[in-house]
């Protein structure tokens, strides 16, 4: 019973964690826009600033993207590698693809172009956020309750 209850709570926590992650991504897109608009920050200045900011602790993959003195390789590849190799915990495939796609166009156009692309990304994120919030609201309690009930049912059967 306890196991089933814990499983239910774990799934419920997973929904909340996904929501927090997507909110952190939203805040990150806003922060990137600010850094580009007011400082014309380079992509590595952006990753360094975000990596050090406690608000983005869920996005630990960013700390791994650094400007090193090795052979030139596209920033978008480094971003994608960092995203794919990071353990986000509970994350849906579409969330992973979205986070990976953020690095595709970073640094490849002028300031106006960058800000437009980031605004577009925020719009795309809205749909994922809405879904995550809905799941959290509707399914969170359901998972917890189902877990406990399932556990009770199994206990009764065994007894």
């Amino acid at each position: 019973m306890i196991t089933a209850g814990i499983t239910g709570c774990y799934m419920s926590a997973g929904l909340r964690k996904r929501l927090m992650l997507l909110k952190a991504v939203n805040a990150m897109l806003e922060e990137i826009s600010i850094l580009i608009r007011y400082k014309a920050a380079t992509v590595f200045e952006i990753t360094e600033a975000i990596g050090k900011d406690n608000r983005f602790s869920e996005l630990g993959f960013i700390s791994g993207i650094k400007d090193t003195c090795t052979e030139p390789s596209a920033f978008s590849l480094r971003w994608e590698e960092a995203v794919m190799s990071y353990n986000f915990g509970s994350i849906k495939p579409q969330d992973l693809l979205f986070i990976s796609s953020i690095g595709q166009n970073l640094g490849s156009s002028d300031i106006e172009g960058q800000l437009s692309t980031l605004a577009l990304k925020k719009e795309e994120l809205k749909a994922l956020l809405a879904e995550a919030e809905s799941d959290c609201k509707n399914k969170s309690k359901l998972y917890s309750s189902l877990g406990i009930l399932t556990g009770a049912f199994i206990t009764v059967l065994l007894v």
């Binding site: 030139p72 596209a74 640094g107 156009s109």
Partner: protein, 324 residues
């Protein structure tokens, strides 16, 4: 080769440059990438082709042909994969990289409303290797600044060494006076991520990328300099800003394009400054900085005759006309 240069090339080009002997490396002035053409370097003013073994030759069947990918890799590296951060530099034609080296860029211009907006299809990148020459301004320091800070105008044709001398002047004067350096094109201090890559003096404040008029106004307003230094003055706005600074008691050191005194006298904006007392001294460089002639501006008429006489001497020497 300096790691700050070599890191901006992909492995193919890097391996060739790494194979160049140390003695030749120290004499390389430029490295050029030209699309679909051989990788070339300028060595002691001579152009050489780098072959695949790192040998520098005049022509070769075994030369390394630069591809579009080679150029794109270098361009992205120079811009730190952040084109948006280097818009101004790209339209200006060059980016300063760590170490003070400059990567000149050319390609197809994208023009909007009659102004160059950006460059596409980059066809050439020219890495100019920076080497600060300490002591380039020693003669001028001795002749002009031995008794204290004074205004100085340095004139010369292109590639006569004006910027090199100006940089060394900053370094030497910046040990004694509060200097404000208005480095509009980033050539003097070569600031990279906020840090001057060249030694321009410990008491020097660098206004990197500021247009001269704005930089001079800001310097006078907030930095209380003893001396303001700027490169290549010429426009009406430059002249107005310098006049205002001069009226605040600040000495001005500047450079201007002019091959000789006669050419300088044709620059009316500049002559107005001279007549108003902004520059007590004029130094004229010629022959890649080998000959420096200084003139006190209150001795202009005598200077014409004396300089003409000495032009035929054929000696590399400093001529000082007027009161010592």
């Amino acid at each position: 080769m300096d790691v700050n240069i070599i890191r901006h090339f992909n492995p193919k080009i890097r391996s060739i440059l790494s194979a160049i002997g140390a003695e030749n490396c120290s004499r390389i002035q430029e490295i050029r990438l030209r699309l679909n053409k051989p990788l070339s370097v300028t060595l002691n003013d001579a152009i050489k082709i780098a072959d695949k073994n790192g040998q520098l030759v005049s022509c070769s069947d075994n030369c390394c042909i630069v591809t579009e990918q080679d150029i794109n890799d270098s361009f992205n590296s120079i811009c730190q994969y952040s084109v948006h951060s280097f818009q101004k530099e790209i339209t200006g034609g060059f980016v300063t990289v760590q170490g003070g080296h400059r990567a000149g860029i050319c390609g197809t211009a994208v023009v909007r409303n009659g102004q160059l907006e950006t460059i596409k299809h980059i066809s050439s990148i020219n890495f100019r290797i920076a080497r600060q020459i300490f002591g380039a301004a020693d003669e001028i320091m001795n002749r002009v600044f031995s008794a204290g800070a004074e205004g100085l105008l340095i004139a010369g044709p292109p590639s006569s060494g004006k910027t090199t001398v100006l940089r060394d002047l900053c370094r030497q004067l910046g040990k004694k006076y509060k200097l404000s350096l208005i480095d509009e094109r980033g050539e003097i201090a070569a600031v990279y991520n906020g840090v001057s890559q060249n030694d321009v003096g410990i008491y020097t404040d660098v206004f990197d990328g500021y247009c001269k008029a704005d930089g001079i106004e800001a310097a006078v307003r907030v930095m209380s300099p003893n001396i303001i230094v700027c490169d290549e003055i010429g426009s009406e706005s430059d002249v107005s800003a310098i006049k205002r600074a001069m009226n605040c008691g600040v000495k001005i050191i500047a450079t201007v394009h002019a091959g000789n005194l006669e050419e300088l006298k044709c620059r009316r904006h500049i002559m107005r400054l001279v007549e108003n007392g902004a520059f007590k001294n004029i130094a004229i460089l010629s022959g890649a900085g080998k000959r420096i002639q200084t003139v006190r501006t209150d001795e202009f008429d005598k200077a014409d005759r004396s300089i003409t006489d000495n032009d035929n001497s054929g000696h590399n020497r400093l001529l000082y006309v007027g009161r010592s």
